[in-house]
């Protein structure tokens, strides 16, 4: 995986919606106060768990675009709105065809498909015909964004399960460096689906209460939802920057990570190399940290080998695991740390598992945070690591 240093890219603006809130200010307030967004699931289940639900009702799509209605589309719409002025300015500067869209998602419009399908199967009324193109498929949200903004450059979803939106950053960065676009709307979006909650339960890795990443009492994942969008451009004009991405595969097992975290180690080293940084220059690690027994332990071993004693936070205890949107949401949380000079407490980590050779941040901490590394790992052994920074 040869990857030499690459120039930093500018993050002109960003927005985030997750269990902590739907504005950057709201998310930052709850994140730095250590307040979890995990709540009871919105559908009936034959087992206990908590979910990271958006804490507000999501506004319906404008009438002209009603054919795209899904929770997924509403999340994308709500998260796009705050970026509209910066996006308009990009379109004015570069032209519609020079602005691209690269988003990550695991679920696409499954939230609506599963509702209509299961209501029908459980003997209810015949479902309204849900549309393959306008609702179920990944491209529905791309067509919605095209209709809302007039963007006419390359548009695609990356879908590699839980590494999707981390990998969207890497893909967007390549488009910019190759000159195939001048600005990219990059990020991720995934609405909560009953199928994924039940799916993780079937794998035996769903927590019954709030998840506890890196704790000796950890017992699995909470599923979350949300979206985060960023405007990425070449150059280093913006204070917030994408410094490096590393991508690779475990080539080990469909759902279990390599026990020593070798795949995780490779992508972290690749991200540092692309950023042109030494391990000592990373001020904070936002871990994948989903609170599964194996996942946390293999990631901790990898972090310890690559980054030594850099403080480590998992934010899954605030947001749950938002699957394909997790990488983007956590990138936004990292940018909040860089802007506010506060690292959040790794919620739920006490008592920290003493067998893990890392420094888990047990309380929020003020500091001069300049560079943060963020990991996302997925089914199929798909791994990605991002390095985000703030200009000194």
């Amino acid at each position: 995986m040869a990857s030499s240093k690459q120039p930093a890219l500018s993050i002109a603006d960003y927005s985030v919606s997750c269990a902590l809130g739907v504005t950057r200010a709201e998310v930052a307030e709850r994140l730095f106060a250590g307040r979890s967004g995990l709540v009871a699931p919105p559908f009936a289940l034959p087992f206990a768990t908590l979910c990271g639900l958006i804490p507000r009702e999501l506004a319906p799509l404008p009438t002209a675009h009603a054919r795209f209605e899904t929770r997924q589309a509403r999340l994308a719409y709500a998260t796009l709105e705050p970026l509209r002025p910066a996006l308009e300015s990009c379109i004015d500067r570069y032209g519609r065809q020079r602005v691209a869209v690269v988003l990550g998602s695991s679920n696409a419009g499954l939230d609506t498909t599963e509702r209509t399908f299961v209501e029908h199967a459980r003997g209810g009324k015949a479902p309204a015909a849900s549309s393959l193109h306008d609702q179920h498929a990944y491209s529905a949200v791309l067509a919605l964004i095209e209709a809302l903004t007039g963007i006419a450059g390359p548009m695609l979803f990356v879908s590699t399960a839980c590494s999707s939106s981390g990998k969207a950053f890497a893909s967007a960065a390549r488009l910019l460096r190759a000159g195939l676009a001048d600005a990219v709307l990059v990020g991720g979006v995934d609405a909560l689906c009953e199928m994924t909650v039940r799916g993780f339960r079937s794998l035996g890795v769903l927590a019954e209460a709030a998840c506890r990443p890196f704790s000796s009492a950890r017992s699995g994942i909470n599923i979350g939802e949300g979206a985060a969008f960023f405007l990425l451009e070449r150059g280093d004009r913006a204070a917030l920057q994408l410094l490096g991405c590393g991508e690779g595969a475990d080539a080990h097992h469909m759902t279990a990570p390599h026990p020593q975290g070798e795949g995780a180690e490779r992508v972290m080293r690749a991200a540092l190399e692309q950023a042109g940084l030494d391990a000592s220059q990373i001020d904070l690690v936002n871990a994948h940290g989903t609170a599964t027994d194996q996942g946390d332990s293999s990631e901790a071993l990898a972090i310890a080998r690559v980054l030594g004693t850099a403080p480590v936070v998992s934010t899954k205890g605030y947001t749950g695991h938002a699957l394909g949107a997790a990488g983007a949401i956590e990138a936004a949380l990292c940018l909040l740390t860089l802007e506010h000079g506060i690292a959040p407490a790794s919620l739920g980590c006490g008592p920290v598992d003493q067998a893990l050779p890392i420094q888990v941040l047990q309380a929020s901490a003020r500091g001069d945070y300049k560079r943060v590394l963020s990991n996302s790992f997925a089914f199929g052994g798909s791994n990605v690591s991002l390095v985000l920074g703030r200009r000194a």
Binding site: L132, H133, M155, L156, S171, A178, G179, M195, A251, F379
Partner: protein, 252 residues
């Protein structure tokens, strides 16, 4: 700008189960993909989509004499693992809605890419893409950007399996998979692709007379264009079309 050089191509459909059969339009009785690389156990559990992807990956890599365990992999599908998703939806509607963990882990868009990576020991780059009818265009752009930075070769695959019944009112099409090995260097290339201008307002449908309205159609059209030494082809890119100009080395 890096050119994209086509080093090898592969096609698999139930009635045209090889590139040669596809080019000759020599239809045979419908079959299933051998997908020998997966091994009996994994193959038995694999969906049609995963088997088709494995099959064209193997054929294309073989035709280009590259190792599947080393080549970067860019996999596209507009709809993904629909058969498996449909099985999970059925399980959700029955009894207390318990799901099969084996089905659940195989329902993700990167199920085939993950399985191939594990089977061949490929620890390098792979990605999975979806962009509706524009999936073929998105794969070529992703390949172009990757090759501009890393050089070498990439294996690009596009596949769709049959849609489950509850979506049949939207579309029906034949399953199909197509693959290209693309390289930055022109060595032994069948053709050079130049990604041309986007042509706004020209709506190209992803549709093929043999297969129906499948998102694989634009990649098959490109394979047909290379086979017939045509000079350009239009592929759908949302409300625009992407013009791809094809060049061939002059005969020696």
């Amino acid at each position: 700008m890096t050119g994209l050089h086509v080093r090898a191509m592969a096609v698999w459909t139930p009635r045209f189960p090889s590139l040669d059969a596809w080019r000759a339009r020599a239809a045979s009785e419908p079959s299933t993909p051998p997908a020998a690389i997966l091994g009996a156990r994994a193959r038995g559990r694999a969906s049609m989509l995963t088997r088709m992807i494995s099959e064209v990956a193997t054929s294309a890599a073989q035709a280009a004499s590259i190792e599947l365990g080393r080549v970067p992999l860019i996999v596209g599908s507009a709809y993904g693992e629909m058969e498996t998703t449909s099985q999970l939806l059925t399980m959700m509607g029955e009894g207390d809605g318990t799901l099969s963990p084996a089905r659940f882990q195989s329902s993700v868009h990167n199920a085939a890419a993950g399985l191939l990576s594990i089977t061949t020991g490929n620890q390098g780059f792979s990605t999975c893409i979806a962009a509706g009818d524009a999936t073929a265009a998105a794969l070529l752009i992703e390949a172009q950007a990757w090759l501009a930075e890393h050089g070498g070769a990439v294996l690009v695959i596009l596949a769709e399996e049959r849609l489950p019944g509850f979506f049949a009112h939207n579309e029906t099409f034949e399953p199909a998979a197509a693959a290209l090995v693309l390289s930055a260097a022109p060595d032994s290339a069948l053709a050079e692709l130049e990604m041309g201008q986007r042509v706004p307002g020209v709506a190209v449908r992803a549709e093929h007379p043999e297969l129906g309205r499948t998102p694989v159609a634009p990649l098959l059209a490109l394979i047909d264009a290379v086979s017939d030494a045509e000079s350009d082809v239009l592929v759908p890119a949302f409300s625009a079309a992407l013009r791809i100009v094809l060049r061939y080395k002059a005969a020696p």
